[in-house]
Symmetry: C2
DNA sequence: GTGCTTGCAAATCGTTTGCAATAGC
DNA sequence: GCTATTGCAAACGATTTGCAAGCAC
């Protein structure tokens, strides 16, 4: 029983070789990978891995609150192992995605009549490098 | 030259029968329609309308800043004729989408090193009706 | 051996592309 | 007549589904 197994279990997710590898990848790489990014990165380690499993596993993680599904990139779904609410910035030129710490709760209008369960805050523009050019 | 033509022209978009109809539909229906919603609603009015034209036209509107592309619904792209920055709430049960006025500029952390050009703020949870049940 | 998990292949479906027909100045 | 716009049909590509094989307790 390793750390990642315990981590998965704490979200009610049964560990398996594939699930542990995918979660470890998410926790080690905070670069908001796509399904293909995860698949390509783990194929070497787990040659039999199928893309279906990556899809299923990421969906399982999201449904259990262990992973965030990020839709800042209209082309592909992206995933984030940090589940603390934070904001994402995406450069319209180079496509880089940067985390921005932000106290989202403070921003919300008071007295909303809804139960808010998820926040997805996205900013788009030019990153520091791209804006110089 | 009607109002909608003038409105389109103010965004540098040449008016056409299809473009006017689509923009009028967006301005009259603030319910965040999908491509299919727009297509289905206008087919009666313009029987020869093609879905490709709806796609092309909405893309043209978005590229020219006349329409917002909303990605709160991971299944389909949605569009909003109100281009003032505001927040969207989506009910996870009934799927309704509600506009929330919000001063987004005030929320941003100060001293960001990026040029921010777009804001997309999404909230998800249960709407007033659904949370009662 | 029973139920959960995986992975292949095929299907699905939103969206884009190529290109010929059409409309507007 | 020339250029921009439209619309059909086909292509594309991300994601989902069906189902049989594999794995774990």
């Amino acid at each position: 029983m390793n750390n990642t197994s315990i981590y998965l279990s704490s979200y009610g997710i049964r560990p398996s070789v594939q699930r542990i590898a995918i979660m470890r990848f998410l926790l080690d790489n905070h670069n908001h990978p796509t399904v293909d990014d995860v698949y390509d990165a783990l194929r070497e380690q787990i040659p039999t891995l199928s893309k279906t499993t990556v899809y299923n596993t990421l969906k399982l993680f999201v449904d259990n609150g262990a992973t965030l599904h990020i839709s800042i990139d209209e082309k592909n779904a992206r995933f984030d192992g940090s589940v603390e609410p934070h904001t994402h910035f995406r450069c319209k030129k180079c496509g880089c995605i940067i985390d921005i710490p932000m106290n989202i709760e403070d921003c919300l209008p008071k007295g909303l009549k809804f139960d808010i369960e998820e926040f997805h805050f996205y900013l788009k523009g030019l990153c520091e490098n791209c804006k110089k050019r």
